[in-house]
């Protein structure tokens, strides 16, 4: 038999390029974004990427919808911070750089513990049982304050032990590079996992658990193993979080955090490996940056989410892949103008809508501070009819034009898709 199945060979170059690029991005990011806040955000992104990817081992790879993933990252954080405390008390001698691994082991351990129960089921019962475990752990975390430190949490100082090569982990940048290193390794490891027998069988379990039983695999074991591995990586993310923030509070095991993993993994795109990476980045941008930019961030987040689920259920990764497909057939260029038009009209609509929303929020929250709202450098006056009229006008015009371009775009798009289908058929025939 010829080795025709080495289909990857030509792609391998591409893969090298991608991984190198990824490493470069991780390496250079803090040179580009240098403020404390952006370095802190970059670090948080690294953590979120690991967490979302570990979550996607369950959701995207294994078809397990978990509502309690924060339990594993969170408990990883707690164990890590307790370790850090022990280290600073001199009771343990672990270098700080290895503490995230201890978090990983903790996540792994709790995944073994809880996963034994949860992975017995799949589908909706799995989802519900993880919800229950999540709520329970969260509630208990506020009750057992010895370990969880109550709502004040546990804090520690990451600058302990002797510096190695002058690295104390005091400065944020040093911590960032630690996190970046972990991110790179974890992403690579999780990617590698998807190419192993267990990874593939996990996909099979997602697609059709029944049939898997008839090719010799115990689906429960497959889910359980995947759950543990996912717990391990979640724990690493948690451990890194402990070092980054030097404080761990109950919210890290809470349902909101679990919900955020789910939301952003989905937004990034659960069907593709790299989707959650986008999701993790978005998560930090939305939770940290957006909430600082506008008081209406939750509304924006909710709306974006609604529309994404409705119009792009494959997440951002799905959108990207769709366009790559079009590009692969050499048809992307002709969409260029449409995209530009969509972007412009969309922005106009958003601009108007944003103005309206900001003014409404202003009226509700800070009317008394003064009628003016700062909006993208312009000043809107909530008392002036012109502001309202203007914003609404801009919004409506934007929406109208957007709709027109969208329709044209859609036609064009489906035309291209039809052509591509035909082309594929033709190639198959050949």
């Amino acid at each position: 038999m010829s080795k025709a199945y080495y289909q990857f060979k030509p792609y391998n170059v591409g893969r090298w390029i991608i991984w190198t690029l990824f490493a470069l991005v991780l390496l250079l990011a803090p040179q580009v974004f240098t403020s404390n806040l952006s370095i802190s955000m970059l670090a948080q992104m690294g953590i979120a990427i690991i967490a979302c990817l570990s979550y996607n081992l369950l959701l995207g790879q294994g078809g397990m919808l978990s509502f309690g993933h924060a339990v594993y990252s969170g408990l990883g954080s707690y164990v890590a911070i307790h370790t850090l405390l022990k280290v600073s008390a001199g009771a343990l001698a672990v270098p700080v750089s290895l503490i995230p691994l201890i978090g990983g082991v903790a996540g792994f351990f709790f995944a073994i513990l809880f996963g034994y129960v949860t992975t017995k089921k799949s589908g909706t019962p799995f989802a519900m049982i993880t919800l229950g475990v999540g709520e329970l752990v969260f509630a208990l975390s506020l009750m057992f304050s010895d370990f969880f430190g109550g709502e004040a949490g546990i804090s520690a100082n990451r600058v302990v032990g002797d510096p190695v090569l002058g690295i104390t982990f005091g400065p944020a940048v040093q911590v960032y590079y630690l996190i970046a290193l972990y991110t790179f390794v974890c992403v690579a490891a999780m990617y590698a996992f998807t190419r192993t027998p267990l990874g593939r069988i996990l996909n099979a379990v997602r697609d059709n658990p029944e049939r898997v039983e008839f090719v010799g695999y115990n689906t429960q074991v497959v889910r359980y193993l995947a759950f543990m591995i996912s717990g391990f990586f979640a724990g690493i993310a948690g451990g890194l979080g402990a070092i980054q923030f030097e404080i761990v509070t109950a919210e890290v095991v809470g349902p909101l955090r679990s919900g955020a993993y789910l939301l952003f993994t989905f937004l990034g795109g659960a069907t593709f490996f790299f989707g959650p990476i986008i999701g993790g980045v978005l998560m930090v941008l939305a939770l940290v940056l957006l909430s600082e930019l506008t008081k209406a961030w939750l509304l924006y987040l909710g709306l974006v989410f609604l529309f994404m689920v409705m119009y792009a259920p494959g997440g951002i990764a799905g959108l990207i892949m769709m366009n790559l497909r079009v590009a692969a057939f050499g048809r992307l260029r002709e969409l260029w103008v449409s995209y530009l038009a969509l972007a412009v009209t969309g922005l106009v609509a958003l601009l108007g809508a944003g103005g309206v929303i900001e003014m409404v929020y202003h009226l509700q929250l800070n009317a008394a501070i003064g009628p003016e709202v700062q909006y993208l450098g312009a000043t809107l006056d909530t008392r002036a009819v012109e502001s309202w009229f203007g914003s609404v006008f801009v919004m409506l015009t934007g929406i109208g034009l957007f709709e027109v371009t969208r329709r044209r775009f859609r036609e064009h798009w489906s035309e291209i898709q039809i052509d591509i289908e035909k082309e594929i058929k033709r190639r198959e025939m050949a």
């Binding site: 806040l37 004040a152 949490g153 030097e246 600082e292 939750l298 929250l365």
Partner: protein, 411 residues
């Protein structure tokens, strides 16, 4: 009218003449919740800060330094971790003063974070002005040089409350119902300690902790309290946990009194309504009929925002900060912090002192009672037709509690 206006102008002019820092802007980062459970309180407080920033900016008698105040709000979503990110962001923007108060959990995290930051970044120090977080640990076991508290801590309030109860002979049995987190634990702890020493005859007939903001139905708790025969309840509850508790008591025919910390916080008065009249007491460092300028501001605030001003520590903070800056002739946090220590200044509740040993403001406390407005107590709280009427005032020395703080000062 005209006269007083002229007088104000004159005062301003004289203030300006010896305002050493006039023209400088001091930014204060406000890191508190604007979304989530505590958002109502947070939005009220950010308004308070902005209101007085506007009022006190520039040289005037409340601003001897003559600086211009600017408040930069950060929504921390009541989360310690988010607060640290906000702190980072504030520091990046060059802000050197931060204020926070909602949630001792966040305060604890901020205290440590500020301490770490200051240690790691000499020359970029940050001062933390705590306006409402009342965990006594912050000025005892966990006291820190960069932290200054302008509220009165749990132990001080309980000191005053039990002093009042000493004379309330009708109270024989009390019940302690609190939220299951550090604030609730501490209220229960100090209540037991101080009652035992001041009114040993009072029996604590029951003690309960319930999860924070989880309980919708307090009827079972009321049934339990009734069954215990308690004639008063001491509770540190706030928000809906307090409102629902009192509501359930009214409906369940419980006639005992409620000694509370936070009955006046946004939303709760509305929920208390008229049926709770005479049953609910609040211990605080201010009340709704302080008189003088304070009452004017309160009314002005009411008119402007259709909300009640209750976070009086905001005024303390601007006052103290300006005073210290004037003395330091600088807005450098290191110098200002030094001046803040032990600073004595006059505020709306008389002469107060930022105690040097632990950075806890020493100030009078007031006990007030929920009742219908009348000729004497006119302030209409949350447009309910009800108000908190002053029952008793406790001078600073009464409510003062000792500290175990061993302050580490930077050299």
């Amino acid at each position: 009218q005209a006269q007083s206006a002229r007088q104000a102008k004159r005062e301003q002019a004289s203030a300006a003449s010896n305002a050493p820092l006039a023209g400088q802007t001091v930014k204060i980062a406000w890191i508190d919740p604007l979304s989530g459970l505590m958002a109502p309180v947070g939005s009220n407080q950010v308004k308070s800060f902005q209101f007085f920033a506007e009022k006190f900016s520039g040289p005037n008698k409340h601003n001897p330094a003559g600086v211009k105040w600017e408040v930069v709000p950060f929504d921390n979503k009541l989360s310690p971790a988010e607060s640290l990110t906000a702190l980072q962001s504030a520091i990046d923007q060059g802000i050197r003063y931060i204020t926070q108060g909602n949630g001792s959990s966040v305060a604890g995290a901020l205290i440590e974070a500020v301490a770490r930051h200051n240690a790691r970044n000499p020359g970029k120090e940050v001062v933390f002005l705590n306006h409402s977080a009342v965990d006594p640990d912050f000025t005892n076991s966990k006291c820190n040089y960069w932290h200054f508290r302008f509220d009165a801590d749990t132990s001080m309030k309980m000191e005053a409350l039990t002093t009042f109860m000493k004379d309330e002979t009708s109270v024989k049995k009390v019940y302690l119902l609190n939220q299951n987190y550090s604030h609730g634990h501490q209220v229960a702890k100090y209540a037991k300690e101080l009652l035992a020493s001041k009114r040993p005859d009072i029996q604590v007939v029951g003690e309960d902790l319930h999860p924070l903001a989880q309980v919708r139905d307090f009827a079972p708790y009321i049934a339990k309290i009734k069954a215990s025969g308690a004639d008063a309840v001491i509770t540190g509850n706030w928000g809906s946990d307090l409102a629902l508790l009192v509501k359930a008591a009214v409906e369940g025919g419980y006639n005992g009194k409620f000694y509370t910390y936070y009955a006046g916080v946004t939303g709760t008065p509305t929920a208390l309504g008229q049926s709770a009249a005479g049953k609910v007491y609040q211990i605080s460092y201010n009340h709704y009929h302080m008189g003088g300028e304070y009452s004017q501001w309160q009314n002005e605030f009411q008119k402007k925002f259709n909300a009640d001003f209750y976070t009086g520590s905001v005024i303390h903070i601007y006052r103290a900060l300006s005073e210290a800056m004037a003395r330091a002739k600088s807005t450098d946090p290191v110098k200002v912090a030094k001046e803040l220590e032990g600073l004595k200044f006059t505020s709306y509740n008389g002469e107060v002192e930022m105690r040097k040993t632990d950075h806890q403001l020493q100030q009078p406390l007031y006990l007030s009672r929920w009742q219908k407005t009348d000729n004497k107590f006119t302030y209409n709280v949350e447009n309910t037709g009800m108000t908190f009427a002053l029952v008793r005032e406790f001078p600073s020395y009464v409510s003062s509690t000792p500290t175990s703080c061993a302050m580490q000062r930077p050299n």
